[in-house]
Subunit: 103 residues, 2 copies
């Protein structure tokens, strides 16, 4: 009965953008700086920083400043909240199917 909603909300919104999902995938294979994240997209540092900030606010990514660079990494178990939400919905969907019968 925890107050997940706000974070879940931001998480889903964050996942709605393909660039940010790609960033998450990239971070899956290890931490990276803003510059390293921006480069493959040919995107400005400023642009990438905005994405990363949204991911931080959604609590999917953490960052720390190391020297003049900012190191970004996945938050462990970041997807628990949304996974839970999805699983609940998925159960509903299956129930719906069952009550409809085979037809």
């Amino acid at each position: 009965m925890v107050q997940y909603t706000a974070t879940v909300d931001r998480a889903f919104a964050a996942l709605g953008d393909p660039t940010r999902r790609a960033v998450l995938e990239r971070l899956g294979s290890g931490s990276a700086t803003i510059g390293e994240l921006a480069e493959p997209f040919g995107m400005s540092l400023t642009g990438m920083r905005k994405h990363v900030r949204l991911l931080e606010e959604a609590e999917l990514v953490t960052t720390e400043k190391v020297g003049r660079a900012r190191r970004c990494m996945l938050v462990p178990y970041a997807f628990e909240g949304i996974s839970t939400w999805l699983q609940r919905l998925d159960r509903f969907a299956q129930v719906v199917e069952r009550t409809k019968g085979v037809r």
Copy 2:
């Protein structure tokens, strides 16, 4: 190796909006018409229709015209694609934690 990406993309985008997530939750407890979906939000039918159309394109919802009404319902197993994506990421996140050590 299936070509999930396009659908997954639309699914995440669709889930990014709180109204649409609420619609999905509502449909979890049974099918509903456009009017029934619009009412609790105090939203126009036209507005709700747009949301439902996006959910259809994301293959999360199906609809059928029944008389003058349009019946909307959850697609069974609609969330498989995105669940898979999330689970993969979640595994990554856990690996990241493990390699970091306890500290």
